[in-house]
């Protein structure tokens, strides 16, 4: 039997109050909020964060990684290799991108269910649209990741019991690669096209699993249109339809099926059948039966917790983060392009946040050193993986002069539990939130992009509990 052993969904910290949009633009917006990825996040970093949540509950060693996004940071070069490095997966694991359509995310889950070995399937999306558009108001940014394997690899939280697809070519939603503007045809046309596709795939999946619609305890329907989701959900014959949080998170494109599946698993009980329906350029259905291990596999950071922890962002700052509004930077030099060779040599440190630990004294060196702090021993070190170690702020500052895509820089000297100190930039924080003694955790970010090369590294963020 194959299925899901663990999972994680990631929501960025900031929330845009959509009533701000019309005040600024004179049109658009609406009620509720949407999630907003920070200026230092991209789909790759968000996939890393979702993957870290999923892998903290995992015991099997992944043999392949699939990463789906509509807006990859790199073309030609694989983005999944960054995720692979940050998650510190084994060198022997395959890492590939699935792209660049929304449907590729659901496709990744289906492929992994029908595959072998231990798969990590990650998906992430940052969605914007022109100012005042419904795409801007209705979308959101998020990521999700799943560890999919056989029950002989490790205990499964949810067994895969059936799947089906229905595919049709029609021009519904589209954009040119690199464009921020998603265009749509006529939602009524989409609605009448998706409904029979959804019903066809649904019927086929139930047949594949040998169950009735009434056997399904809860269904989630993913679609770029809340209206189409509702229309199709109403025709499935399932009593309970998952609230997709479109009015607080937004519709998250390639991340949406994963976020909804995570929510299904976080809200179900053991021994229930749950269904995920995704409506993009056709219809795809996945059916699962949760197991007795479901409670043990619950992530330490759930969607509900992250929804409760968000904080507001102004519409102007949102626009600047999405490069829709250029703001004046400090009169300081921009960072340099990173060196490919130097980055390759420091892969463990740069991507994995792995320092060195002196095997004689136990002292932790961040970044790793070859020579002990007392200067007496060389190469007497072992790896010190620090990405999941919490820390405490020893002292801090706010730099209003240094270059940042979103000044000012909040910066702190962080002392890690069990040893090790690293002075590091903080993210997802308001200036008045910081003080000596504040607890922080590490998060993977994109510091800058120079010459089309993203500079990925780690920052610290506050440990927040809802």
């Amino acid at each position: 039997m194959r299925g899901i052993s663990s999972w994680g969904a990631y929501l960025p910290y900031r929330r845009l109050d959509k009533t701000q949009i019309a005040l600024f633009v004179g049109q658009g917006g609406g009620k509720g909020t949407r999630t907003v990825a920070s200026f230092d996040e991209d789909p790759t970093t968000m996939a890393v964060e979702a993957g870290r949540i999923a892998l903290r509950q995992a015991s099997a060693t992944p043999t392949q990684l699939m990463f789906a996004t509509v807006s990859p940071t790199y073309a030609d070069k694989t983005n999944a290799t960054v995720v692979h490095a940050a998650l510190r997966l084994d060198d022997s694991a395959l890492a590939i991108d699935l792209g660049s359509s929304v449907r590729s995310a659901m496709g990744g889950l289906i492929l992994a269910m029908r595959s072998q070995g231990v798969s990590v399937v990650a998906s992430a999306d940052i969605r914007t649209g022109l100012a005042g558009s419904s795409e801007e108001a209705n979308s959101g940014d998020a990521a999700a990741a799943f560890v999919i394997c056989d029950d002989t690899d490790t205990a499964l939280a949810a067994e895969f019991i059936g799947a089906a697809s229905a595919t049709e070519e029609f021009i519904d939603r589209w954009r040119a690669p690199g464009s921020q503007r998603t265009k749509t045809w006529d939602e009524k046309f989409s609605e009448v096209t998706y409904l029979p596709l959804g019903q066809r795939a649904w019927k086929q999946a139930l047949q594949d699993a040998g169950i009735q619609a009434s056997d399904v305890a809860m269904v989630a329907v993913s679609s770029p249109s809340a209206r189409i989701s509702s229309t199709v959900a109403a025709k499935l014959g399932v009593a309970k339809v998952l609230d997709n949080l479109s009015s607080s998170i937004g519709l998250t494109g390639a991340a949406q099926p994963g976020v909804l599946l995570a929510m299904l698993l976080e809200q179900s009980k053991p021994e229930q059948i749950v269904a995920l329906v995704s409506l993009t350029d056709g219809a795809d259905v996945l059916l699962f039966r949760t197991t007795k291990y479901l409670p043990l596999a619950q992530p330490d950071t759930t969607v509900a917790q992250q929804v409760a922890c968000g904080a507001p962002i102004s519409y102007g700052r949102f626009l600047s983060w999405r490069t829709m509004l250029a703001i004046e930077p400090p009169r300081r030099p921009e960072p340099q392009r990173v060196s490919a060779t130097a980055s390759a040599r420091s892969e463990n440190w740069k991507y994995g946040f792995v320092g060195s630990r002196d095997t004689t004294t136990g002292a932790v060196h961040l970044p790793p050193l070859r020579v002990s702090a007392d200067g007496q021993r060389t190469d007497n070190m072992q790896d010190a993986p620090m990405a999941n170690v919490l820390g405490t702020i020893a002292t801090f500052t706010v730099d209003r002069l240094a270059y940042s895509p979103s000044p000012p820089i909040v910066f702190a000297v962080v002392d890690f539990d069990g040893g090790g100190r690293f002075p590091v930039e903080l993210c997802d924080i308001d200036v008045d939130e910081i003080s000596i003694g504040t607890r922080v955790r590490m998060t993977f970010r994109r510091l800058s992009v120079i010459d089309d090369i993203p500079n990925y590294f780690w920052k610290a963020t506050l440990v927040r509990t809802p």
């Binding site: 400090p330 009169r331 300081r332 030099p333 960072p335 340099q336 990173v338 060196s339 130097a342 980055s343 040599r345 420091s346 440190w349 740069k350 002292a363 932790v364 060196h365 961040l366 970044p367 050193l369 702090a373 200067g375 020893a394 002292t395 801090f396 500052t397 706010v398 730099d399 209003r400 002069l401 240094a402 270059y403 820089i409 910066f411 000297v413 002392d415 040893g419 090790g420 100190r421 690293f422 002075p423 000596i436 510091l447 800058s448 500079n455 990925y456 590294f457």
Partner: protein, 396 residues
């Protein structure tokens, strides 16, 4: 293992120093020529009388040719050195040791920086190609982390600490206003200092040193030859240098209330010079006041104040121009300006003027005591280089 020092072996026999300002009309070569010519003239010699040169510049140019070309030196050895903001001091240190070794009779150290051609605020350094994981913070931000840590450790109320560091800026502007070569020649009120726009942490604009263009130079020879050139040479009593190992950035034991590299450097310097009671024996100190909070901590690391009390000594006026131990009587980095490669030699230039009684009526201090200390640092709290010189107008 020991630091033997070269007490009284080497003398400074001539110095030069340009004005430190935004020299929009002077390039690096002009600054070099102006400082060198003043220095030759001060020592009463010409180019042929100098056997070897050390050029200190952090980013002004590479190799000794940066100096040899503008001065059109003929077949002379010229070494370019760089050691962060202690670059100018390092040039003097190397020149002094070269003469002490017997390799040369006369050597010049010249420090220069053209900071204002970048178009950016503050000081900037271009790092070598790297993996992108290094800090990109400004120096102001790195030093600003000292203030809350210091206040926290010694129980100093933030308002009192703010008052104390403002007093450092006030004093250095007061002194700089009396120095025709200084970048900023206005006295600044305590209110203006305290209410200036924040740059980093609690440090405002007036807590930060001026960024200027400038050059300064010194000529050294063996002490026994000094009186051939001048009646009033300065004798080198100590030259101490410590390059930190960066442990403060990685060691949780470091608390950001002291600069251990400087404390170690001070102990070594006082031992070389035979100084046992710095506050009583030293006539003046030129210290690296890159930020006001830096000068406060330096008063403790240099053993002028007890730990946790420098803020009080500052408020008491102990380091004022007419105080018990004048600190930065020329205005310091704060108002004299900070052309990186020149600053260390500029500090010695003030010692040169004061100990020879040539600082002018506006800011001349008593010459009853005959020793001056210059302290020059580079880097940041936790990762720092420190230089200290002790110079004296008398042998012995």
């Amino acid at each position: 293992m020991a630091s033997h020092g070269i007490k009284d072996q080497i003398a400074i026999i001539g110095m030069g120093c340009t004005n430190f300002v935004e020299h929009w009309d002077l390039g690096l070569d002009d600054l070099i020529v102006n400082a060198a010519n003043e220095c030759y003239s001060s020592a009463g010699i010409n180019k042929d009388g100098v056997d070897a040169y050390w050029l200190g510049t952090a980013q002004g140019g590479m190799s000794g040719i940066t100096l040899a070309r503008p001065l059109q030196l003929q077949n002379k050895p010229v070494t370019r050195v760089e050691n962060y903001c202690a670059t100018g001091s390092e040039a003097l240190r190397q020149a002094a040791y070269a003469v002490a070794s017997g390799a040369y009779d006369v050597a010049m150290a010249l420090g220069v920086e053209k900071t204002k051609d970048s178009g950016f605020q503050g000081l900037n350094a271009t790092p070598p190609p790297n993996d992108g994981t290094g800090r990109t913070l400004t120096a102001a931000a790195m030093f600003s982390m000292v203030a809350p840590a210091y206040g926290n450790k010694f129980g100093v109320d933030p308002i009192e600490l703010r008052e104390a560091i403002a007093r450092v800026a006030w004093k250095n502007h007061y002194n700089g206003a009396r120095n025709s070569r200084a970048q900023f020649r206005k006295e600044i009120s305590m209110d203006t200092i305290k209410n200036s726009p924040k740059i980093a942490g609690e440090l405002g604009l007036f807590d930060c040193a001026g960024v200027a263009d400038g050059a300064a130079a010194a000529i050294v020879c063996r002490a026994q030859d000094a009186h051939k050139y001048t009646d009033k040479p300065l004798f080198i009593k100590a030259l101490s240098f410590v390059a930190g190992n960066g442990s403060g950035l990685t060691d949780p034991a470091y608390d950001y209330t002291t600069f251990p590299e400087i404390a170690a450097c001070a102990v070594d310097a006082y031992a070389q010079a035979g100084i046992t009671n710095p506050s009583a024996q030293i006539a003046l100190a030129e210290v690296h006041d890159c930020f006001t909070i830096t000068e406060l901590v330096l008063m403790e690391d240099l053993l002028f104040s007890e730990r946790g009390t420098a803020w009080q000594d500052i408020l008491d006026g102990r380091f004022d121009l007419n105080g018990q131990l004048p600190v930065n009587p020329d205005g310091g980095l704060k108002s004299f300006g900070h052309p990186v490669g020149a600053s260390g030699l500029r500090m010695m230039f003030e010692a040169w003027l004061q100990l020879r009684g040539e600082a002018g009526p506006d800011r001349q201090i008593s010459t009853d005591r005959t020793l001056a200390l210059t302290h020059n640092l580079g880097g940041y709290p936790g990762e720092m280089v420190s230089f200290i010189s002790i110079l004296g107008s008398q042998l012995g």
